[in-house]
């Protein structure tokens, strides 16, 4: 390579702001602008969208086996219309995953919010909207509680959130006196069930949430900082980012989104049994991990998570239509989680080698 002589060097009065260091021996492959060639590299495309193909194949297989049952609008409505609460939960846990944190209590937080609303309206005769505000306030507090133990007192997040998950569940059971309580306000259920183009409006909330999440994550300065906190905490800290504030914020945002999931759940189902909240944990986590095998392989990403939700639901619903019920949901989510993480790992290895 070309060495710069001393004389040339003296003349180099300014390096920053000049481009006077031409290096002809290194042909530049510096494509800074968006270029289709960056995106059409076959292994990368395969890794990004392989799961979509599998999804399609799965749908085709179900359609072939039971054309009369599966190929109906009702099936599509069931897949896309029923998962809003799980999608909100998945986005909630994603908020902690993207900064390299971990939360097991989001389902418990959702349970708390989904219990407070019916309890306050039917047992204490509050206005339903006031009850929602109270529920969100409690969820905000729950996030602060997690953040306090994990970031201020530096207790491992696994321990803290495992504990608070059970704590929130216990509180929810206590205030509901272990009963399923219901909200009887039809205007309230409209916020989730109002029909827009054949699907309940809550479906669109979920999609919008995922898109907003993606926008914040990839296109705002805040989101880019968050990405660096997740990728390498020390690099982020040395770049002047307040790492602990972002970590704490992730738990609060997590809990607030989980609180919204509770609101949607109560609005669409009319009531909630707090003991059921733990059954929402695995589907949400499975979708998040499945999402790491899509769109941006190897990274937690909102659009991948969104697709992951409907991927899993398609699989479960198909199996249910085939007559398997009850156990199949647990088995499919569990197996799906393991397979998803395996796929993501394989995808990452593939990209590493190319």
């Amino acid at each position: 390579m070309k060495r710069i002589s001393r004389a040339e060097n003296e003349e180099l009065e300014s390096l920053v702001g000049s481009t006077s260091l031409p290096d002809t021996s290194r042909p530049g492959s510096r494509r800074a602008r968006w270029d289709i060639r960056d995106h059409l590299n076959l292994p990368q495309v395969t890794a990004r969208y392989a799961l979509l193909v599998i999804w399609l194949l799965m749908a085709v297989a179900y359609a072939a086996v039971m054309p009369d049952k599966f190929l109906r609008t009702a099936t599509a409505q069931a897949i896309f219309g029923s998962q809003s609460a799980v999608l909100f939960l998945a986005m909630a846990s994603l908020a902690t995953f993207v900064v390299g944190e971990f939360d097991l209590s989001f389902a418990g937080v959702m349970g708390l919010s989904a219990t407070i609303i019916p309890v306050m309206t039917s047992l204490h005769h509050w206005n339903v909207w006031m009850a929602c505000v109270l529920a969100m306030f409690c969820c905000f507090g729950a996030g602060l509680l997690n953040a306090f133990f994990i970031i201020v007192l530096r207790v491992p997040s696994l321990v803290v959130t495992l504990g608070t998950a059970s704590l929130f569940l216990g509180i929810a059971e206590f205030i509901s006196s272990s009963n399923t309580v219901a909200v009887g306000d039809p205007s309230f259920s409209k916020i989730a069930l109002y029909n827009v183009g054949g699907l309940p409006v809550s479906f669109y909330y979920g999609v919008i949430l995922a898109i907003v999440f993606a926008y914040v994550m990839y296109l705002t300065p805040f989101g880019r900082n968050v990405a660096f906190v997740g990728a390498n905490r020390d690099v982020a800290r040395l770049a002047g980012i307040n790492v602990n504030r972002i970590r704490a914020a992730s738990y609060v945002v997590d809990s607030v989104i989980a609180g919204f999931a509770g609101v949607i759940l109560v609005a669409s189902a009319g009531g909630f049994d707090p003991t059921a909240s733990s059954t929402y944990l695995l589907p949400a986590l499975a979708a998040v991990f499945l999402g790491t095998a899509m769109v941006i392989p190897g990274q937690f990403n909102p659009i991948g998570t969104l697709l992951g939700i409907y991927f899993l639901e398609t699989g479960v619903l198909g199996l249910q239509l085939l007559g398997y019920s009850g156990w199949v949901q647990d088995a499919f989510y569990g197996a799906g989680l393991v397979i998803a993480v395996t796929l993501a790992t394989v995808a990452r290895e593939r990209i590493k080698r190319t």
Binding site: R6, S18, S29, A231
Partner: protein, 518 residues
């Protein structure tokens, strides 16, 4: 009867991707000797050890014999260990909450025949025997957390000796004596001398050249992956000689002196540090002027390595004040973001850990420190990021496959350039760089040094903290040597040779450079 050598390692080559990190390394260790292995960070010492212990695979062709018996290559640790090799790592691997006996016997507990449970009586006996061999006085049931530094080192060495009979085996000390000094260090040295007097061998890796010179029977030196000195007898291995081999000995004094720029005494002070004190650094003061390149160096491990982090808020000092421009910062509580806001930026040594995020792409890494300043609040915008990418990849000749390529995919030199560019893009007042040319190839080194020169010429104050004497004399206007007793001592040295002498031989015999024939 002549004994075969304890260990013969021959034709060892190793490449990682495009960079060859070891070139034809041959190492021969005799029974009953302490063999020193010296080299700078990144010279390949740890790679050699990792190949010996089976962590890395060497390139084909390498051969290893222990006591005359050929070993399979790539090395399998079980086989090597059975042949008598054990390692004491830098952190000693002592588990604080366990007893001495448990620490000595971990990995080889004597078991009861039927139940398979640990036989405590035999464990304590094994431990006591081994401790007696090293001459240690601690009891087997003592909890190691309560032990002093020298006792802990003894326990670690006892563990390494546990499975070998007296007079056999090879103990590799991978900077295991780093935390010791004074009487403690002497005690461990005596212990090692006793161990080799029985006929065991020791391979000792240390940054403390005085230690190597006084303890080792023979010394080998690695530089840039080549063995530049192989088994120097102790008489030819004083600290200065070892340093000269490590750093590249023959220096083009003329060129070095000529490349020096005039000290810019007229320029205004860009930053001044006063009363800086931390656990490892004793009260120091310095100031750097706009356009000046200030070098700070010292003995490896003496604490000067902390200075770049202490003055940029990356690490908090006990006390100290920093003034940059018109801002005053308290270094005991300063955060990186405050230092950055004042225009004081840091290029850390560990680029993989602290410098750049390996799993993120080049453009993201470059624009990270400028995100807040250059973006709109709700939209980062790609345009300025792409401009940044084009400008700096051209200026620093960064070779990438495009803005989206991950840092992990770049060579070490290009990663280092991205790190440099990332902070240059913030237009700093003061740039504090720690070992910016470490573990990069020759081409990248000259690109980086030229960039730094250009930056200083443009009025940026540069604090260059490095152990690379060649870079220091090539680049710096002024060099300060850290001395734990006296603080930062200015030097007038214009040649690399003299600088090495000043760093490594400050209080030692001036009898140098008599025996330069190799």
């Amino acid at each position: 009867m002549t004994q075969p050598p304890r260990l013969v390692l021959s034709d060892l080559n190793k490449r990682f991707g495009d960079t060859q990190v070891l070139h034809d390394v041959n190492l021969r260790i005799a029974p009953g000797e302490i063999h020193g292995l010296a080299g700078q960070n990144g010279s390949g010492k740890s790679t050699v050890i990792k190949i010996l212990t089976g962590v890395y695979k060497p390139d084909p062709g390498a051969k290893l014999e222990i006591d005359g018996a050929p070993m399979a290559m790539p090395a399998r640790w079980e086989e090597i260990h059975r042949a008598g090799v054990s390692v004491v790592h830098q952190d000693l691997g002592i588990l604080d909450q366990l007893s001495v006996a448990e620490n000595v016997c971990v990995g080889g507990f004597p078991r009861r025949r039927f139940s398979g449970a640990i036989d405590r009586a035999r464990r304590d006996a094994v431990c006591t025997d081994t401790l007696a061999r090293v001459g240690a006085t601690v009891g087997p049931r003592t909890i190691t957390a309560s032990l002093g530094a020298a006792d802990r080192a003894e326990v670690a060495i006892a563990r390494a000796l546990r499975d070998h009979r007296a007079g056999e085996g090879l103990i590799i000390l991978d900077e295991a004596t780093r935390s010791l000094s004074g009487a403690d260090l002497e005690r461990i040295h005596d212990l090692l001398r006793r161990v080799v007097a029985e006929g065991s061998s020791v391979l000792m890796i240390s940054h403390n050249l005085a230690e190597l010179a006084s303890l080792a029977d023979r010394v080998s030196v690695l530089r840039d992956g080549r063995l530049v000195a192989s088994g120097l007898p102790a008489s030819e291995a004083g600290p200065e000689e070892i340093a000269r081999y490590m750093l590249g000995g023959t220096v083009d004094v003329q060129r070095a002196a000529a490349e020096r720029r005039r000290v810019t005494t007229s320029a205004e002070v860009a930053a001044s540090v006063s009363g800086l004190r931390s656990e490892r650094v004793r009260a120091i003061d310095f100031e750097v002027r706009a356009g000046e390149i200030l070098g700070i160096t010292g003995l490896p491990g003496s604490g000067y390595e902390d200075v770049p982090y202490l003055v940029t808020g990356a690490m908090n000092a006990r006390e100290g004040r920093l003034s940059v421009g018109d801002r005053q910062l308290d270094l005991a509580r300063c955060r990186p973001r405050e230092a950055i806001a004042a225009g004081m930026v840091l290029i850390p040594e560990r680029r993989d850990r602290d410098g750049v995020a390996l799993e993120m792409n080049v453009r993201d890494n470059l624009s990270l420190p400028s995100l807040r300043r250059r973006s709109k609040r709700w939209f980062v915008g790609l345009r300025w990021q792409n401009e940044l990418f084009v400008r700096f990849t051209e200026q620093l000749s960064i070779k990438t496959a495009g803005p989206m390529s991950l840092i992990r995919e770049l060579s070490g030199g290009n990663q280092q350039k991205v790190l440099l560019a990332k902070w240059l893009s913030t237009s700093p007042q003061v740039l504090v760089a720690h070992e910016p040319t470490q573990a990069v190839d020759v081409g990248a080194r000259s690109d980086i040094l030229n960039t730094l020169r250009g930056v200083a010429a443009n009025g940026v104050a540069l604090v260059f903290v490095s152990s690379e004497t060649k870079d220091l004399v090539d680049l710096c206007d002024r060099i300060l040597i850290y001395d734990p007793a006296a603080g930062l001592v200015p030097t007038d040295t214009r040649s690399e040779d003299d600088l090495i002498d000043e760093i490594y031989g400050r209080s030692d015999t001036p009898e140098v450079s008599s025996d330069e024939t190799d």
